[in-house]
Amino acid sequence: MNDVTENINNEIKNNSVVLFIKGTPVFPMCGFSAATVQILTNLGVKFHSINVLDSDEIREGIKKFSNWPTIPQLYVKEEFIGGCDIIKEMFESGELLKLLNTKGIEINPS
């Protein structure tokens, strides 16, 4: 296992909900990242975010790691949930909330 893979592995192991985005939750640098931040915030989910623009290694590494070509990417309890379209669709259908509940993630809607 190389360093990047190990790094990513540690992040998703040590944090229940991890969102890989471009930018930060306060200043997302891409509309798709912004949309996913908004959904998680809306649901009241505490998440750990990783700005892929900080590191080219992580930016490329996470795409290989998940076998997924785009950012954002959401992980819950080490499981890859999907990118922006899937998160949006799951949010709208209520599936995302169900999944978070099933996985025992704490939710505090505002």
Binding site: W68, P69, G82, D85, I86, E89
Partner: protein, 76 residues
């Protein structure tokens, strides 16, 4: 970098021949598309798996030549 709508459709059709595809060029710049893909091949597959099948059909263009593709997949 951009891509023609027809090329996009062709690529998806190549690997998912029965796909019913609706593509919309969101900004008219050939770089931001929205696509709905419906296929029998998606049956019993998770959303992640369905999207991966479409991404795979684009042969690495997703995230490179193609910046944004809003994707919706459905099994027939």
């Amino acid at each position: 970098m951009a891509m023609e709508k027809e090329d996009l459709e062709k690529l998806i059709k190549q690997s998912i021949p029965d796909a019913k595809i609706t593509i919309e060029d969101l900004r008219g710049d050939g770089d931001h598309y929205s696509a709905t893909v419906i296929s029998k091949k998606f049956k019993d597959k998770s959303m992640v798996e369905q999207h991966k099948m479409v991404y795979k059909s684009l042969k690495g263009k997703m995230g490179n030549e193609l910046h944004a593709l809003m994707l919706k997949t459905k099994s027939e």
